[in-house]
Symmetry: C2
Subunit: 179 residues, 2 copies
Amino acid sequence: MNNVTNNPREKLACIFGRRSVRAYTNAQVDDDTLRLLLEAAMAAPSAVAKDPWRFVVVRRPSTLTEIASALPNGRFLAKAAAGIAVVGDIDAAHDRQLSYLLQDCSAAIENLLIAANILGLGACWLGVHPREDRIKRLREILSLPENIVPVAMISVGYPAERKEPRTRYTDRYVHHERW
Amino acid sequence: MNNVTNNPREKLACIFGRRSVRAYTNAQVDDDTLRLLLEAAMAAPSAVAKDPWRFVVVRRPSTLTEIASALPNGRFLAKAAAGIAVVGDIDAAHDRQLSYLLQDCSAAIENLLIAANILGLGACWLGVHPREDRIKRLREILSLPENIVPVAMISVGYPAERKEPRTRYTDRYVHHERW
């Protein structure tokens, strides 16, 4: 993570090094660090700057366990230091469009994940929307009002696994001038 | 952009410094740099790693002008060194769900925007989805097949305006343990 380099690819280490980390140590994540993650999330652009994103920070192990049980492949959330539910307020989204809400919340999530990587944390994006059963359970567990749409759950902790930087760049996904 | 700092907030400069840049110099952006932006985009996570994102890189001024005319508030795209249409293949998206397509493409876009900032470029996210008129025009101009959903247009160039780093962090958007 040393940006004092003239190699453009090395400058992007914070992006290529962001991997889905699902194993965490027992170390807690302090309030200042969680706050920085949220500052990074809310530095994302949003449609017409409506910032429809909202966040529920969960640290109570019993709640994390409950949410984990609602997310297939999300069992590891129970062992994370924190979970951040990223949700959107449909009444705040530009033109009340779900599309903008999803785009804006996803940009915020990606900022949060890159920030976590830069700060030496591990994190993983756990999908919630558009699965009706997961949306319903999140609403119940977190007491979300009707206008609040759960998008994803982000697990956060200090990494107990190490993954190599990478890109999944695929040449045939790139077109020039037209399709 | 010096990450050799012990200040956690300064380490996140690449995120807070990403601003919507709409004014560009006449300088061209070389192929290697555009390629790096796309490598960064495709380093984002996607639902079940389906990577439904696709990209159309546009450099021809006449095409940029045509696309700009289809995007309200997007006039400046005509003066950009390049435009990158970020589109999604609904047949490739997890469970063919538009929600995943939008989330995955948005994460890729945010990676691209942060990479542009790190590399000294300016970029701006121009909304396309869910506006039917914009979707239709993009489809026509770029000859997109039916299964390809235009999400956004990203303008890219060397910045002719400077904006200060910032976050739009808002304390009341953060809840703890439950809503």
